[in-house]
């Protein structure tokens, strides 16, 4: 699949994102097992807890690097519009959900889901934006 991507910047982006996703899974298991087996405390607990977030931050950096490396301005434009859609959708959802939690006592939404929700909205946005240019 990766070999079929002709655009070098896009190919590097996909590879980096797969590496980040893989590291995130590995680090999540490491953190879960560490807390289950050795119950770290103090600064070590913070370090282990934040471990799975590091590849996620890396993925955000990868997206920024891709935008800097991508020479095709139309493709950059598509991604930027999608990211704006993702940001707007996420902000809208968590704002509404926050008030629902406060007043209507809906189930609590863990912050950990926000990253996935952002990419969900960005993906939907990408489809909508692409369709507009067809």
């Amino acid at each position: 699949m990766i070999c079929s991507i002709k655009n070098p910047a896009e190919r590097r982006y996909v590879i980096r994102m797969w590496v980040a996703a893989g590291l995130c899974i590995v680090f999540a298991f490491v953190a879960a097992f560490t807390f289950r087996l050795s119950h770290p405390t103090g600064i070590l607990a913070y370090l282990v807890a934040v471990l799975p977030a590091l590849p996620i931050l890396g993925a955000l950096v990868c997206t920024g690097v891709y935008l800097a490396e991508e020479k095709d301005e139309f493709q950059r434009n598509l991604l930027v519009q999608s990211l704006l859609g993702g940001t707007g959708g996420t902000l809208a959802l968590i704002t509404v959900w926050g008030y629902l939690e406060d007043f209507a006592k809906t189930p609590h939404l863990d912050l950990i889901w926000i990253y996935a929700i952002f990419w969900g909205f960005a993906g939907i946005s990408y489809g909508v934006v692409r369709a507009r240019y067809r």
């Binding site: 139309f74 493709q75 240019y133």
Partner: protein, 64 residues
Amino acid sequence: MKNRLRVLRAERDWSQADLAERLEVSRQSVNAIETGKFDPSLPLAFKLARLFETTIEDLFTDEG
């Protein structure tokens, strides 16, 4: 913005993919510019003009 890309491309018997390769952009980019849905930046407009050996004004028409 209206443009003459399709005509100039047809004169040279280039496909959208051929033009995209020459411009080092994706075929989707060429399609979006050609259909007037995406306005290229000034550097890309100059690149197009150089490629078709014409001027930007000859390629693009400001509808406003």
